[in-house]
Symmetry: C2
Subunit: 406 residues, 2 copies
Amino acid sequence: MTDDVQNRSMVQDTLAAAPPEASYAALYRDELLERVLPFWLKHSKDEQHGGYYTCLLRDGRVFDTDKFMWLQGREVWCFSYMYNNVAPREEWLQMALHGAAFMEKYGRDAAGNWYFSLTADGRPLTQPYNIFSDCFAAMAFAALDKAAPDDRYKEIAVSTFKNILQRKDNWKGVYSKAYAGTRPLKGFSLPMILCNLSLELEHLLGAQQVNELIPAVIHEVMEVFYQPAHGLIVENVYADGRFSDSFDGRLLNPGHAIEAMWFIMDLGQRLQDKALVRKACDIMLHTLEYGWDKEQGGIFYFMDLLGHPPQQLEWDQKLWWVHVEALVALSKGYALTGDERCRQWFETVHRYTWQHFRDEQHGEWFGYLNRKGEVLLQLKGGKWKGCFHVPRALYQVWKTWEQLSQ
Amino acid sequence: MTDDVQNRSMVQDTLAAAPPEASYAALYRDELLERVLPFWLKHSKDEQHGGYYTCLLRDGRVFDTDKFMWLQGREVWCFSYMYNNVAPREEWLQMALHGAAFMEKYGRDAAGNWYFSLTADGRPLTQPYNIFSDCFAAMAFAALDKAAPDDRYKEIAVSTFKNILQRKDNWKGVYSKAYAGTRPLKGFSLPMILCNLSLELEHLLGAQQVNELIPAVIHEVMEVFYQPAHGLIVENVYADGRFSDSFDGRLLNPGHAIEAMWFIMDLGQRLQDKALVRKACDIMLHTLEYGWDKEQGGIFYFMDLLGHPPQQLEWDQKLWWVHVEALVALSKGYALTGDERCRQWFETVHRYTWQHFRDEQHGEWFGYLNRKGEVLLQLKGGKWKGCFHVPRALYQVWKTWEQLSQ
């Protein structure tokens, strides 16, 4: 616990003087370049079989060797993205290529669907039941193709993207446990990711295809899943858009909605649609106010739109991705609208996040806190946490505040 | 919070004088008859569509109307069992018949598999992907057939049981996401439940069939899933019995193992096998010592055999069923072996359980506490908690201490 106390007091010193724009930029840049990317470079590379280990203890030691395709794809994307956007460092490119080779060799079934998980040496463990493996694979190869252009990478990214579009209305396929027809629900995750994915693949798909795709996904996110009476986005609605008064239909995931709002702000910027940016910023702020734990601080993981007990036992936990995505959304909201509420909330979430998730001693951030903000799992990566949300958010916040300081 | 404080102080008064055997018996009997069964009788009956509501708030108000077949079957079983074993009260029989009529009419698909869930009015919502729906349906109709003998009930119980045995080695069937062959694991749940289910159905199956079935399930539980090097039972092993160093293979569920040990003690009594009872008692005590939270009290929900971070975010929560099953196992262990450790542990778990789970104000018990023992969800029933563990345990503890006091 001494480490934690020391960690917190150091961060608190940094925070004592509310830093101006340029200080935020430097803080987030240094954390990314000196403490987060080095952690993954040092600990996650599987030199023997290729690919990445992601189940890493606090100090980086591997505790499980399974390879989850979400996280393989996300790490390839991350190092490619940093190579493309921060600096063309050879070690970043080599790290991306290392993961991509493993994915290309072992990642797909005969029909081109991406498995959910593999053994360390690449044998399939879990069937391609989850289309988000495909989403992150498409993102990975699209970003890698920018870093090291190759027709094979282009082909993998584009064919995977086409496959996602084909499967999107019934992506669970044979793995769905729902009895067809009784309560036909659709989920928020896929349209929300397509907002981001279409921009990530624009250099391969072409502006025209992206332009055709965008209005439908914006409509889904901002009009179908958004519940105007509450000002909140639900995770599931009936296929025809109606609200479903059921566990799934009442489910709120504030972090998910907040993350989606910065995807929408990015689309709003691309379309030069100020009203869309404004609306996304307002929904983001309202979701944050609603999802913020007024007693203990931090953002709840799950809630129920009608205030009933949620099904998810982990509902009151504080997760890293929720908080770092909020930092991105608030930075972008502030930069694009100048709304002072974004700046104030940014300071609140920044303080909570750096105090509770950051690990001064070993680099990378903790992922899972209990409601009080105490570390729940002593891991830096696992089945769902890898090299993705923390570095992406640090980059986005760094660049946004850098721009604000100019 | 005033209610909680009052509740705790009243229970603490009761606990101040460590009660002798007869007092424990009276305490558990009164709780069952005056505070728990009345809660379900009053709040869970769906007069409009038949069957039971199980998603009930602290005061019994319905917050969701879906019907989960596990819980429909368990409630039919519970009221039938109380009718058969406590007293032939007409309202208990009527309550059991009420749920059974709904189950019989809507519960199964054309092949006789039990759906996982239905809408309030009986339309199938979730496919029969989960064989435990079938287990609790077989238990329900077997117990009801004792209360109100009927060839239809016999037929449903026996055909469901046969179907379970046919499906048992690949019960997930088309709903399995595992890639066949890479890591063929089998789970502890089914052999563990078959220990109990075979005794529940003995009057229908006959002693001979039960005698044929028992040795295999005892072997599975006590020799295959039990890891002698650690003295603990894991939730999953390779099909050939080997330990698997993976998230699933390392998973411990202390409450599950403790519950299984009283099923084994029941089988040991039936077989008059004192060594088996002794071994089950020892494993139970060791699991409890291992799973007990030395800092905050209570029994952890999930752990990892090798001490790694578990995958389950709810790992440190304190669940009602874990604690009440431990009370049953400790009572039976004490009654059958006289081991003083059982008595001491019973007092410790009794004190924790009555202080934290019991609700003086509205009857029935809370289900989900955080690590510190604070109520996490203000519900008395939901998707997984119904009229089952609390009344069954109260009955078992009552009867065991009653016997000890004679």
